[in-house]
């Protein structure tokens, strides 16, 4: 509400000399500053608005300023030539007139633009016709007028709030009154509800909750308040203060209420609605009830008066019950889950921390059987490279990363084809990745799988010259330590990125091929921060010659790197027992370098120099 310029001119409606009124905020006869009317989210005016907003904005009707003061203010705040101010005022008025013309049916068919006076006159006519349609009470001066007839206001309110008014007696929870809108929400008519006990309609498990809220007895246990200033809980240990019971004491709670099933109308019901397990086939909806306690003098009631001695008043709870918005909990647009899909959540090293129960029908395992294990243990070895790369991408990107089809080992040894969308969750406050959410979809069709196999083995042969195949054990669940380490290593990279960002020294990280680290093989990210960075692994692996465990598979792979390896060879390789694997670091480093897609590592020549530490 700032002036077109920065003047503080008073409204002078009767002033014949003023061409245009100093725009002022309605209801005030004072110098006022008016914000330029924004059209369609007009951004250009922002800077002006800001300037103007900083000017004085008087709202107190009682204050009055003299003309002289106005002039002073005007001079003081003068930032633009007066003509500009005037122009802006005129433009604003013209815009308003245009808008008005657009809203009046009588003005619309006109080809040429109507002049201001005509538009105004037509507006007057239009308002008269509108008013003719409203009740006479509207124009009654003794009755407080409002922009909207109250009936309409009530309608608007209830439509916006998606709720209904409910008045319940506190002693017996009898429904005394509901508004008409209840039929839209609970699908019971007013008649069906009035006079009934509220508990007949409330979910049986919420009855106690509702009883608590209705209880107006002084024996009700302590009232707990949170002092927002300090966040400290304040417990009123003494019996509840009398004010708690009197009119105005607020209540706010959630409860589930029955609503009649209306066939076919609610197919998009969210899963929040649970069907009662009892023989009645009601569905429940969750309502947020807010309101306050109110006392009605019993003389107004027919036979509902309290017969208790203490009070002749009937206390009621008056609430507005709003249907909880369903959009907030519906699967968001990010994660749109369809059948034959399931969701999993992994820590950044790929270990499952959450598995949707739908997974069982697809992969055979119950959630608890795979929770805690690394997802890499279930990926087919052909896909490890691709997936590790995607894993790395997902950790670094805010986007959803789509994997290609890959094979996931089910409980029974058979592989199922999946395709997943991965996206990382970053804590809004710390900006660190906390976990990865994976939306997994089953890809059906045997032909597809075959192609995959052919494709992958071909790719394998090409890559084999450069990167040896990761060995895998063909039997047993959860014994693929190598594979599991992939995830850990990728996670560790990320952590190092964080620590580097936080400028903590990471160069002190020991070489993986140095003295064996005292760490367990499946170490979770937060505790393995000293793992080497990629660069170091790449660098040092070329130097290391020695010790730290063995992995015959890898070494034979390395020796075959210049040759023509085939997958079959690995099955016949001697795989060392797990106990001989003394350092996870070593394995990680190897695998890291295996997965390295840098060109530098790709030259076959380089591999000749590498001495695998196993």
């Amino acid at each position: 509400m700032s002036a077109g310029g920065n003047d503080g001119t008073a409204t002078r409606p009767a002033d014949p000399t003023a061409e245009e009124e100093g725009p002022s905020q309605a209801g005030s006869s004072l110098p006022a500053v008016e914000l330029p009317r924004k059209r369609k989210g007009d951004v250009e005016e922002r800077s002006d608005t800001h300037v103007q907003q900083s000017l004085d904005f008087q709202m107190d009707d009682d204050l009055s300023r003299s003309e002289g003061e106005d002039q002073q203010v005007k001079m003081k705040c003068f930032r633009e030539p007066h003509s500009q101010i005037e122009k802006r005022r005129r433009d604003k008025m013209n815009n308003l007139i245009d808008e008005l013309a657009a809203m009046i049916p009588a003005c619309q068919p006109m080809a040429r633009k109507l002049d201001k006076l005509t538009v105004l006159r037509k507006a007057v006519q239009h308002l008269k016709t509108l008013k003719a349609g409203t009740s006479s009470a509207f124009t009654d001066t003794t009755y407080k007028p409002s922009i909207l007839p109250h009936d309409d206001l009530r309608q608007l309110l209830l439509r916006a709030a998606d709720g209904f008014l409910l008045v319940v007696s506190c002693d017996r929870a009898k429904i005394l009154f509901t508004s008409e809108s209840v039929s839209k929400i609970l699908h019971f008519s007013r008649l069906e509800l009035t006079g009934q006990s509220l508990f007949d309609f409330v979910h049986h498990k919420d009855i106690n909750k509702v009883k608590e809220q209705l209880a107006s007895s002084e024996l009700y246990p302590r009232q707990r308040l949170i002092d927002a200033a300090t966040g400290v809980q304040v417990q009123a240990d003494s019996p509840v203060r009398p004010s708690h019971l009197t009119t105005g004491a607020r209540r706010s709670f959630f409860c589930r209420m029955k609503h009649s099933r209306v066939a076919g109308k609610h197919e998009d019901k969210p899963s929040l609605l649970i069907t009662s397990k009892k023989k009645d086939t009601y569905k429940y909806c969750t309502l947020h009830c807010t309101g306050y306690m109110r006392s009605w003098p019993s003389s107004q009631l027919d036979s509902e008066g309290d017969t208790e001695k203490e009070t002749s008043n009937l206390t009621c709870l008056v609430t507005v019950c709003r249907l909880l918005p369903h959009t907030s909990h519906q699967p968001s647009k990010d994660v749109n889950v369809k059948p034959a899909e399931f969701v999993t959540r992994c820590a950044i090293d790929g270990k499952f921390t959450f598995v949707d129960q739908r997974a069982t029908t697809v992969i055979g395992y119950l959630p608890q059987e795979i929770l805690g294990t690394s997802c890499y243990e279930y990926f087919h070895q052909d896909d490890l490279q691709q997936l590790a790369e995607k894993h790395r991408q997902a950790l670094r990107s805010k986007e959803k990363i789509e994997t290609q089809c890959y094979k996931f080992k089910t409980k029974y040894g058979v592989y199922v084809s999946l395709q997943s969308q991965w996206f990382s969750f970053t804590n809004p406050w710390t900006k660190e990745v906390e976990f990865i959410v994976s939306l997994n979809r089953v890809i059906s069709g045997p032909a597809h799988t075959k192609d995959e196999e052919a494709g992958s083995s071909k790719a394998l042969q090409e890559d084999a010259k450069q990167i040896p195949i990761i060995p895998s054990l063909s039997s047993g669940v959860g014994t693929m330590i190598y594979a599991g380490s992939i995830g850990t290593q990728i996670a560790n990279e990320l952590i190092d990125t964080y620590s580097r960002m936080n400028s903590s020294p990471s160069s002190g990280a020991p070489s993986p091929f140095g003295p064996a680290q005292e760490k367990g093989p499946l170490v979770s990210p937060p505790t393995s921060r000293s793992a080497s960075s990629r660069e170091e692994a790449a660098g040092s692996s070329s130097q290391s010659h020695s010790d730290s465990g063995t992995a015959a598979g890898a070494s034979s792979a390395a020796s075959e790197s210049t040759g023509e390896p085939s997958q079959l060879d690995f099955d016949s390789m001697v795989v060392p027992g797990l106990s001989s694997f003394s350092s996870d670091e070593a394995a990680m480093a190897v695998i890291m370098s295996l997965l390295e897609t840098d060109v530098n590592m790709g030259q076959s020549g380089d591999f000749g120099d590498l001495h695998w530490p196993f």
């Binding site: 924004k38 707990r224 959009t327 907030s328 608890q368």
Partner: protein, 371 residues
Amino acid sequence: MTADKEKRRAISREAARRRRRVESDVFGDLSRLLPLQPSVRAHLDKPSVIRLTLSYIRTHTLLKGRTGTKTEVSHAVKYAEVKEGGEDRPECDEEKETEEVEASDESNMYLRILEGFLMVLSTEGDMIFLSDNVSKYMGLTQTELMGHNIFEFTHPCDHEEIRSNLRLTAEEVWRGAKRDFVMRIKSALTHRGRSANLKSATWKVLHCQGRAKVCVGPSSVSCLLLTCQPLPLSHTLLSTHTFTSQHSMDMRFTHCDQRVTALLGYGPEELLGRSIYDLCHTLDTSCLTKNHLNLCLKTQSVSGQYRMLVKGGGYVWVESHSAVIPSVRPSKSRPGAHQPLCILCVTYVLSGVEQPSLQLSLDQTVHRYLR
């Protein structure tokens, strides 16, 4: 020559004065037709009169909705729409007046219970209508605000979100187009509740809920019907189905009250240091993220419903109301430990434990909870 010029100037001045007088008269007529308090009416300036007229017309178009389009039938239409449930239409004026008074009481009651105000927004963000209790929350009266654009009064960082809520697709309308968001609005109220200058306005966090509505007509109006409630900073907790918790800014628990044990199975000490994201169903991650972002940016938020995993298996549906508590330094008046910036949540448990034997998360497999 100059005398001629002078004369001409005098004539044109007189004509201009006449024009202005006529114009003022018409403005006066218009303002008298607006249902306003006489005291308010006297102080309206011309742009405001137009602004309020526009709002009035738009609101009426809105209410006519799909039924009537001609002003001649607006009378019948209005009553037809309003009288749902087949009640008899009162015929005489007296009855209408009683109706009106009753309706007034009821709507006042609603507004009071709601602890908020009603706002009708056009797709461009113009505040077509505001209930008159808006002054209680914003310090500005209904007539001062109606017709103005909401972008003038809200925090610039929230404008994008408001705009996306104003956008309406046909599909959404079909489905009911619900809206639920949090925004910051200027409030010219002082701590003591008195109106002050807009210059010294503070930001107030409002929780806006409602729906979009489309009215078909010659001038079809589509708009947002919203109830705007300031998020309370203090909660009166009466229920055993509610618990409070305190979190560091990354949403890890720093404190939790005892009631959580009965509701989720965890003891308060078990939760310390754990992230809320770990304890919730993965599909609700985005809901929680939105809540967290709202907290970081706007300092208050309402989460909507999400699922919290219960120790040992299963989950419950909950809704959290949270606020950021500014850091408290020990001072003379408030001695004690320094309290850093943190988040305070009041969580309402909405349902019982669903699927208690289902273990979805790693944590649930480790612990066993005996109910």
